[in-house]
Every structure is written in C-alpha cells, then in structure tokens.
C-alpha cells in the first residue's frame, strides 16, 4: 500500500547515517519535521544534504538509524512504495513523454483511470501556470517551464512529503527569483510538507519555515530563518549566513552577553555567543552591510581601501587593517584607493566567538 493515503503528523529521522566505504556522508542525523512544514537543508557542497534527501526518498539506502512516519518505520521501503513527490536538480523529466504524460506518470503508476489522470494532471498544470503546453515534449520547453513541469509532477499525486533537490540551481538569476516566489505560493496553497535542499542561503531564508544547516554530514544548527540569520551558533554557520568579516583579537571585556575585543589599538564590541573570559583570543564576525565607512568613530577600526565598487545606492569595497585582515564594507562615497577609512561595526549585529583551538 502506498503511504500517500496516510495523513501523518511528523517525519522523524533517528540517527540516520549513510557511509560510503569508510567515508561518513551522513552522521547520525536526528530531525523531526512536522506536517505542513517547509524545511530547508542548507550547506556547502559535500555537506551531505543531497545524500540526506536521497535517503529519505529511498534512492539511497541508509547504513544506520531509522526513518519514521509517525511510528511507522519506512527506511526499508523501496522508493516506489514511499509515495513521496520529488523535484530533481536537472528536473529528470521523461524526454519521450509529453508534458501531460510526465505530470500524470505517478498517477498512472498508481493505476488510476485515464480520465482522472488527465483531469488531475491538467489541474496541476494550471496550478503551475502551464496550461496550453500539455502536448509538448520537455525538450521544447524553456528551463523555467521544465521546472514547472517537474513541480507539477511532484504535487499532482498529493504526496505527504515533497522533496526538492536544488531545484533552482540550473536557472538564471532572474528566473530563480521568480520560481522562488512560485514555489512559496504553491506551498502556501497546498500546504504540503516540503524538504528543500539548497546551498543558497537566500533561497533557504526566503522559503523555509525552518532551516537545517549541515556540515561534514552532521547537523550544525536548526532554527527559523531569523534565528539563523541573527544568532548563528558557530563561526562556520555564521560565515555561511553571510558574516564575511572576521576580526580576531584579545578579549578585554566580557559581560551581559557582550564581549569587547582589542585589535591593533581598536576596541570592537559584539554579542558574545561563547563563554568568554578576559584575555581569551576571540573572533568578531560581522556582515558586510554591518560594517559602514563613517566618521563617528565608535566601535570602529581603521583600514586602507583596496577596492571599491559602485552598487547604485551605495559603494561596496574591501579594505585591509593594519594587522592584515581584509574587511568588506559599505559606504556612501567613492573612497580613494589606498586612502585610510574608519569602519564602524554595528555592535548589536556583530557576533563574538571563541577562537577555534
């Protein structure tokens, strides 16, 4: 029996692991996903996010742990018996079938009557706004249209779980934004539980209810987009969330969840995320747009401008501090190359981590 007919409350991964020989691609993943949630698996390439998705889909066997839907264990089921929907990275449309046949494939495999298949397929095509393309072959469609077909094919079977494997990575920047909104719209409309794999933090932040950050096959952090954006628990997560500036120095003050470090005479304050004591080596991390060229001089560090680019509303540049660290900063003017500027760092948005041993 297919799981598609089951309504479920949660999908649970319990210490799910996958090894390739001696290499652990996934290391005891624990995660619970509630019905209706949109969860993004985020991480750099090779972090295990696609492996995790393929294990959930059943395309890869697990080598440890279990996958449960409510209390039913499913990790031994074949992919065709799990009843999930999936959107693949290169769409994986059947090249020899028309758009309509592609969309109706899952229904046909479930042995539905022809009339019902056609009706539901047309409805799904309407949902992804592809009416009128039903009789074309995938090769005749543009990338964005193929993407829509792939989404329609996944949702038409009304699966309990939709898996998406970097579905936007093959589209150009403009189309990617458009399809992002489209995916969110369809999710809002259908409320299907979705697991979405991506390496693009913007995509994860804008789409997901919750983000799971993976690294080296392990979960680093789970949280809402806002939690991850504002309070990454680790320096590497912070870097991945756009904290590109790292300034290392010695802690001179640490209290009330704040820490101040000293570097080359400048004192910089940020929110402390680790337990820090005076005298520790620490790293202050800040986003480029939280480092502003200014004159007030509080919480600021001096640096020499190396590059500067015009970005329309403002200028974005890089500058080197005296201790040799390169910082990305935003500024209101076209600072002269080589000139010295004072870079102010927003103390409420900068984070201080203990230096890695």
């Amino acid at each position: 029996m297919s799981l598609a007919s089951l309504s479920f409350n949660q999908l649970r991964l319990e210490r799910m692991s996958r090894a390739f020989g001696t290499f652990n691609a996934l290391n005891e993943i624990d995660l619970t996903i509630r019905k209706g949630e949109f969860v993004a698996l985020l991480g750099p390439s090779g972090c295990g996010k696609s492996t995790a998705l393929n294990c959930i889909a059943g395309l890869l066997g697990t080598t440890g742990g279990g996958i449960y839907i409510d209390d039913k264990r499913i990790d031994q089921l074949k992919p065709e018996d799990r009843g999930f929907g999936m959107v693949f990275q290169n769409y994986a449309l059947f090249p020899h079938m028309t758009v309509l046949q592609n969309v109706g494939f899952g229904l046909k495999m479930r042995g539905l009557a022809r009339a019902e298949i056609d009706e539901r397929s047309h409805a799904a095509l309407a949902l992804v706004r592809l009416q009128g393309q039903a009789d074309k072959l995938p090769g005749q469609l543009s990338g964005g249209q193929q993407q829509r077909v792939a989404i329609a094919r996944a949702i038409v079977i009304e699966p309990p779980l939709v898996l998406m494997d970097e579905p936007l990575s093959n589209l150009d920047a403009k189309l990617r934004l458009e399809m992002r909104a489209e995916i969110r719209r369809i999710h809002n409309q259908l409320g299907a539980t979705t697991i979405y794999v991506t390496h693009d933090q913007d995509e994860a932040l804008s789409l997901a209810d919750r983000i799971v950050v993976l690294r080296d096959g392990s979960i680093r952090q789970v949280g809402t987009p806002r939690e991850l954006y504002e309070s990454p628990l680790y320096l590497d997560v912070a870097e991945f969330m756009g904290f590109r500036n790292k300034i290392s120095g010695r802690v001179v003050q640490a209290a009330n969840g704040e820490a101040t470090i000293e570097v080359g005479g400048a004192r910089l304050t940020g929110r402390a995320l680790d337990a820090l004591a005076v005298g520790d080596t620490a790293i202050l991390a800040a986003r480029g747009d939280d480092v502003i060229e200014g004159v007030s001089g509080t919480n600021a560090i001096e640096a020499a401008v190396e590059t500067i680019e015009y970005r329309g509303r403002e200028f974005v540049g890089t500058a080197n501090t005296d201790s040799g660290m390169q910082l990305v900063f935003h500024g209101p003017r076209n600072a002269e190359l080589g000139s010295r500027v004072r870079l102010e760092i927003d103390a409420r948005r900068a984070l201080v981590f203990a230096a890695q041993p």
Binding site: A57, R82, G83, F88, Q89, A92, F94, M109, R110
Partner: protein, 282 residues
C-alpha cells in the same frame, strides 16, 4: 578552417583527391563488373558483354538452392540479432550503471572477441562446438556468430545508456514505478532507438560474417556468403555468370540492410566502435 593557397599545397591537395578518386573508382568498378557480368550473355575480350539477359539469376537460384540458403541465412541472422540484443543490452545496462570491482577486466573480456580476428579464435571454437555436437548445425552457427556480436552490442550500448540521466530512472521510482513498470514505461522507450541501431549493425555484420560461419556451418546451415565462397572456390564447374548472379543477390541482401542502417547510424559506427573501448581498456 585555415586554407592554404600556395601552389605546392594546391598540388598536394589535388594529389590527395586524385588518390581518393582512384580508390573509389576502383571499388565502384569492381562492384559494377560483378553486376554487368551477372546480366551478360557472353563476355570475352570486350568492354561489355555481347548481350544482356536475366537467365543467370534463374539458373543460379536453382543451381545453388538459393531459396533454401536465403531462408537459412535469415533464420540465423535474426536469431543472432535477437539473442545478441537480449544478452548485450542487459549487460550494457549493468556496465553503464554500476561500478564494481573487476569492471575493467570484464570490459577487457568483452573487448577481446572484437579485437581477435574471427579466423584466429574460430578454429578452436569450431573444435569445441563439434566436440559438443552442435558443430555443423544451425545452433552451432548461431553460437559462433554471437561471439563478436554480443560484445559489439555491449560496446555500442554502454555510451548510449550512459547518456541517459540516471535521475530519470530515480524519478520513475520515486513516482511509484516498480522494476517492471520502470522498464516498460521509461527505459524501453528511451533505449529503443539505440537498441534498434545496434541490432541493425549486428544484422549487417552477421550477413557478411564469413569466417565464423565457414568454420562452423554444415551443409544445411550455410549462409549466403559461405555458399558464395564455395561456388567461387569450385569455379569452373559452373558458369562465371551464375556465380556473379549469386554475388549480386548477396550484395543486394546486405545493401538493403546497410541502407536501412545508414538511416539511423553514422557510417563510422560500423567500423569505429572498438576504438573508444580500446582506449578505455589501456
């Protein structure tokens, strides 16, 4: 592309084309000689025969029992085509989709029958087939002809299967297709063009395969090309024209399939298939 316009290089280019034209002219003349002779009445010491007739075809048909030979030829050829398709495509699928220890050795084993000339392995093979009691029979000829064709299908199909995105199969599985339905609705339609091309090439090669059939065929399991060999070998007994008529029948038989094959494949494929695999095995 860069064109050279010096006199020397023009001379060289002309020379190259002259050699090519000379070769092609001779090939066409050889074929034409056979055709003209088969329609000629008496052809001695002149450019063309004295008169033209079709009676040699009737004579040849009766003399060499061509109806029987043709039936046998096609039974053998189609059996070989179907069996090599079945054995070859399944193996090619596994070779294209899985990496397993010893894969290179398996590839080498599949490559050898294509690299070793048939006459070399045909003699010990015929010995074994006769010992097993199938020598000289229909199935003996089929088995012998499968030796180069099964690896040939494998080598043609491996790159064809490799270029099909495995994610398409993954998609079919996720959307509920079991092994049979995956094969029926997804793999078979996608593989069909490649399989047909490979089988046509096998057909062309098997019609022309002389050595293996010659070594293993008995009187009742001769194919057309072997019958042609024997009739030329024993020439003198029969008129040259009826042998030529038989040669034309043979030529037409293989050319029909060649023309069909050429609609689907590049001529280079008939020849050049072993090369990539050879490079891969080194």
């Amino acid at each position: 592309m860069i064109r050279d316009t010096s006199v020397l290089s023009r001379l060289w280019i002309t020379f190259v084309w002259l050699v090519t034209a000379f070769f092609i002219l001779n090939v066409l003349a050889v074929i034409a000689a056979v055709v003209v002779s088969s329609f000629g009445t008496r052809w001695l010491g002149t450019w063309i025969p004295d008169a033209f007739t079709t009676r040699w075809y009737a004579a040849s048909w009766a003399e060499f029992q061509l109806d029987h030979v043709l039936v046998v030829t096609f039974q053998i050829v189609f059996t070989v085509v179907i069996l090599s398709g079945l054995l070859g495509v399944t193996a090619a699928y596994a070779m294209a989709r899985r990496d397993f220890p010893g894969k290179k050795i398996v590839l080498l084993i599949f490559l050898l029958p294509l690299l070793v000339p048939p006459i070399t392995f045909g003699i010990p093979l015929a010995t074994v087939l006769y010992m097993a009691g199938v020598g000289g029979t229909f199935w003996g000829v089929v088995l012998a002809n499968l030796v180069p064709t099964v690896p040939f299908v494998i080598l043609v199909m491996i790159p064809f299967i490799e270029q099909i995105d495995p994610k398409v199969e993954a998609a079919a599985r996720v959307f509920g297709a079991g092994t049979f339905k995956l094969f029926r609705y997804v793999l078979l339609p996608m593989l069909l063009p490649g399989v047909l091309a490979a089988m046509l090439l096998v057909l062309v090669r098997t019609v022309a395969m002389f050595e293996l059939t010659f070594l293993t065929a008995g009187p009742t399991s001769q194919t057309l090309v072997v019958a042609l060999y024997y009739s030329v070998f024993a020439a003198g007994v029969r008129s040259v024209q009826s042998i030529d008529a038989m040669a034309v029948i043979y030529m037409v038989t293989s050319l029909i399939w060649l023309l069909i094959a050429l609609r689907f494949v590049n001529p280079t494929q008939i020849v050049a298939r072993g090369k990539n695999a050879t490079a891969a095995a080194h």
